[in-house]
């Protein structure tokens, strides 16, 4: 077995290469935990008022662009704009662990805590949001300084050609993943996905979250202008969270396809075994 540094030697399929820095690995696993805590406590907070609005104000008497509720026939539904989707049993009305029917937006298995408790969900959310917010800030500064962003994440010009992106998309669709030395670097779809998470979605989560704080709106009034008001920020907070859920699902599927043992090892120890080149 040979272990190589991908940058100094010319590794080939089958070799172990150092793939993830300690800072990336630490941040990854902290985020993995934060993702579930913040998502599930966030869904509980949403349950306290399962309606979303655009603009500065928005309450029960104002029009909501998204709503989860129970209709006249006692069936749960999700309404987005004018489109109404029956979600009985999952959203709006569902059976809890004791077989009791509950009229709440998100079901007990998706929330933290599982029984309705806005105060406790806020404690979870607003405590671990500090870890999440400080985490992205420190990681971005650190990754600029150690050139992780510039070297590994920013696309090269030739990678941004539409033909290259399309070709990579086609390979992903056919589950034809890079092998050999190609697998030592992020491909363009990975770069774009990781950059949009680290530069847009996660900072967006933190900033829209801060915009919901009345004291932060006093301290940093530009937050209200940036997102178009507190209720818009609340809506965007929900949309960004939904996009992060999509990212995590695709991310986990890709890990399973690419080989979970090798991928998880590389995110724990840093070492990644390059998949063998296809035989010609």
């Amino acid at each position: 077995m040979t272990t190589l540094d991908a940058e100094t030697r010319n590794p080939k399929g089958g070799d172990l290469v150092k793939r993830h820095r300690l800072s990336t690995r630490l941040w990854h696993w902290i985020n993995a935990a934060m993702f579930f805590i913040l998502l599930m406590s966030g869904l509980m907070i949403f349950n306290a008022h399962p309606r979303l609005y655009w603009g500065e104000y928005g309450a029960n008497l104002d029009p909501a662009w998204l709503q989860i509720g129970v209709d006249d026939q006692q069936a749960g539904y999700l309404r987005i704009g004018d489109a109404r989707i029956g979600t009985d049993g999952v959203l709006g009305r569902w059976e809890d662990a004791d077989g009791q029917l509950r009229n709440r937006a998100f079901p007990y298995w998706a929330t933290l805590p599982s029984n309705y408790n806005l105060a406790l969900a806020r404690r979870w959310h607003l405590t671990f949001a500090w870890v999440f917010a400080v985490g992205i800030f420190v990681y971005l500064v650190w990754s600029l300084l150690n050139r992780h962003v510039g070297r590994d994440l920013l696309p090269r010009r030739d990678e941004m050609r539409p033909s290259h992106i399309l070709a990579d998309l086609r390979d992903h669709m056919r589950l034809k993943l890079p092998r050999g030395i190609e697998a030592a670097r992020y491909n363009i779809l990975q770069k774009l996905a990781y950059l949009s998470v680290a530069l847009v979605l996660i900072p967006g989560m933190v900033l829209t979250g801060l915009t919901m704080s009345p004291q932060m709106d006093a301290s940093w009034p530009w937050l209200l202008d940036l997102f178009g008001g507190r209720q818009s920020a609340r809506s965007l907070h929900f949309i960004f969270a939904f996009l992060l859920v999509l990212f995590v699902i695709v991310h986990l599927v890709m890990v399973l396809i690419a080989g979970p043992f090798n991928e998880i090892r590389s995110m724990i120890t840093g070492w990644f075994r390059l998949p063998k080149e296809r035989s010609k």
Partner: protein, 253 residues
């Protein structure tokens, strides 16, 4: 082949284990020491950071055109006590605000006297802890002016509000620190949207403490008390919801 199976097993174990970890979180949240130490650290940090960097910041004020067409009521809207009902029936003509505790001159200030003091009108956004917001116009006397009138003693650190409404067994109560108490936008509002404050919104006066969430904005205020510690107020957490529902005392976020 064995490697394949093992990784698949590892993946399955992960899938099965994650709900167990999460139900572990659920149980952690029920442990009082975890709640009081770990889960309270966010409030502790936010409060200190906000006081360190934004103590004097002003909440945004809006124009008439930006006001909510309907400002919903919330919480208790009809205090049941006979005394309150009597005051309501005669337009609070004989009602007065008691100001007591760590002050040089405890007073009972009639509503007419409060109205005669210099007033402030502000169009601000009310944010409920549940998530909704409404924008309304509030008119009232700055709390700082009332506290100056009774002359706060130097050892006073918090202002406690005692209210006429009862949710459950005890009357509603709330408290704020002196930074918020003397903030120019912190007012005892007797007017809303150009009229007298309605019963549903907290007549005769309610607190507006614009940089905190709705449950801090005590309605139906009967008495104000200056104290040096919150430990003797209710169960010691400084407010009705803080004591009964584990809501944060500092609700700036």
């Amino acid at each position: 082949m064995t490697r394949r199976l093992m990784t698949r097993r590892a993946a399955l174990t992960g899938l099965v284990a994650s709900p167990m970890i999460l139900s572990g979180c659920d149980r952690l949240g029920q442990s009082p020491s975890f709640r009081n130490i770990v889960l309270s650290s966010g409030e502790w940090l936010s409060y200190r950071m906000h006081r360190l960097f934004g103590a004097n910041a002003m909440a945004r004020e809006y124009t008439e055109a930006e006001m909510s067409p309907d400002f919903r009521t919330n919480g208790s809207t009809r205090p049941q006590s006979a005394e309150y009902q009597r005051h309501l029936a005669n337009g609070f003509a004989t009602w007065s605000l008691k100001v007591s505790g760590l002050v040089e001159e405890p007073q009972a200030i009639p509503l007419a006297d409060l109205r005669a003091m210099p007033s402030r009108t502000q169009i601000t956004r009310h944010d409920c802890v549940e998530g909704w917001s409404a924008i309304g116009k509030w008119t009232g006397v700055p709390l700082g002016a009332v506290l100056d009138r009774v002359m706060l003693k130097p050892e006073a650190r918090y202002i406690v509000f005692r209210c006429a409404d009862a949710l459950g067994l005890s009357p509603y109560y709330e408290s704020i620190d002196l930074v918020d108490a003397f903030h120019p936008q912190t007012i005892l509002a007797y007017g809303m949207n150009g009229s007298d404050l309605s019963q549903g919104h907290g007549a005769p006066i309610r607190l507006r403490v614009e940089r905190q969430l709705g449950y801090k904005h005590a309605k139906f205020i009967m008495e104000i008390e200056a104290v040096d510690s919150l430990s003797d107020i209710g169960l010691g957490r400084g407010g009705y919801w803080e004591d009964t529902g584990f809501y944060e005392w500092y609700a700036g976020i």
